[in-house]
């Protein structure tokens, strides 16, 4: 796709918007439709579009497969870590209420971090899948 100038220009305009929209879906998921899973897929869609238009090798240089795999694991660890933090602070597993002195604020923080973990893992796994099939 090296000679498709229109595609290049449009992709360069659209990709930042896609990534921004992913972050919106991620962080607004507490209050509206959305959340980590959808955000992760949208974010990965931005990366995959970059890979399709500019070549998989450039995407691999930008987001190395090793880093992607690490992020997939890190997201899961963030999720589980929040759960364990609830245990350590005297609640049950995944009890967000004890994370902060104010239970309401704790619930907000907990679900935000959990969804962030989901988002990171989903984005990383989607990108990994793309790498697998792109060869």
């Amino acid at each position: 796709m090296r000679h498709h100038h229109v595609l290049h220009v449009v992709a360069k305009m659209v990709i930042p918007l896609i990534l921004l929209f992913a972050l919106y879906v991620q962080f607004h998921g507490d209050f509206g439709p959305g959340g980590g899973f959808q955000a992760g897929v949208i974010f990965a869609a931005g990366l995959i579009l970059y890979g399709l238009v500019f070549g998989v090798d450039r995407l691999r240089r930008t987001v190395p497969p090793g880093v992607v795999r690490g992020l997939a694991a890190a997201g899961g660890l963030l999720y589980a870590g929040v759960g364990v933090a609830g245990m350590v602070l005297g609640g049950a597993y995944l009890d967000y209420g004890v994370l902060l002195p104010d239970p309401m604020a704790g619930q907000h923080l907990g679900i935000l971090l959990i969804e962030l973990g989901v988002g990171v893992t989903v984005a990383a796994v989607m990108t990994s899948l793309f790498y697998c099939f792109a060869g």
Partner: protein, 490 residues
Amino acid sequence: MIASHLPALQVVVPLVAAPVCVLLRWSRVAWMVAMAASLFAVGGAWCLLAGVLSAGPTSYFLGSWAAPWGIEYRVDETNAWVMLVVSVISAVSLLFARRSVEREVETDRIHLFYTAWLLCLAGLLGMAVTADAFNVFVFLEISSLSTYVLVSLGTRREALVAALRYLVLGTVGATFFLIGVGLLYQVTGTLNMGDLATRIAQLGPHRTVTAAFGFLAVGIAVKSAVYPLHTWLPNAYAFAPSAVSAFLAGTATKVSLYLLLRFLFTVFGHEFVAGGPVPVLLALTGVAAVVAASVAAVRQDDAKRLLGFSSVAQIGYLVLGVSLLTTEGVAASLIHLFGHALMKTALFVCLGAIVYRIGSARIDDMAGIAKRMPWTCAALVVGGLSLIGVPLTAGFVGKWYLVAAALEAGWWPVAAAMLLASLIAVAYVWKLVESAYFRAPSARVAAARGAPFSMVAAAWGLSGANIWFGIDTSLPIGVANRAAAALLGG
């Protein structure tokens, strides 16, 4: 403090250990992490079982959301027992796995292998501990997906086909399960098992509930390889890496059978099940399994495939025990579940050790191997005797109670089928023994040496347990009787 969190930690520890393995990337460390998580699970399951036996069932509420709104983990005699079996088998298989996996899996993938192993363990323990029907589905998928990966890592190309076939059938099974859970949710508005039981009892005869039961039963039957839905199993066991065959043979189908018990007796209840055609259907599939799968096992040339068919037959025994719908029958199934996990993992570990040395699981290729690997082959014989059900082995205890329960219920043909299948088992175990002990060794076998110490230790740990629990039967029988009484009592 840790004690009160044990129900959750059983799942959380392997689930956390899995991504840690991905990040560490070092195969030896990944093995150590997996082993540590498994040993933790063994200790946890033991403490939970001791707690249940002395103080009764305990509940754990995830996120402190009370049931039935939140997800409840509930530990009683039955699932504490199943968790103990699963975690012990995982730990012993890992002891065997270290050397075997170094040989069979590419070095840069070994840490991912143990990641999949840990995810599978987390899924199996989660299926056992949770009291939420949808949560069961989630863990079912976690364990199944990681199992497909583990199977596909086998050295031969057929492993990919076997894994794909398992994936297709397993997904159909999981979908049936999910449809069943969805129908129950639609009728009752709840997913908590205890709550489901109360509401189903209040509903009385209800067509949607019956449909839900059908979907759940078929879904679970696919997952536990109940005859004739077993076709994925022999090839999956035959072509998976040796360590995976050992791990799965002792755990995956056992946890699915636990689900069958849980849904039959806790969720739907004895009256609901006893009124319909379920006992007869289960008994028919059970009899078909013990006879047909045993005959199929005799005709195999590949030792791992032979053991796969033998597993299908043994699952038939477990189903027969359940189909009686009596306390004795269910207790006998739980005893044999434990015995079968011990003997089948022992046999797969021994075969894995032989494959490690001669690179083949064909029965003809292992001719005369007993001269080269005496300890491994002796463990193989003990496991085989237990599989037949010779007295003073764990297999005898399970079969004895199964036959006794069948006779007590007046099901003579079922008891006869079990005894017939045991005779056929003599034939297929003899095939292995005859080849290993009474044939002239080939050139490949003559060059083989004894198995590494860790493998012999794993094999004899399990074979020794087969003898131990054939003589001192107080633990399995005591737990199984109490578990069965609790399941059928309420």
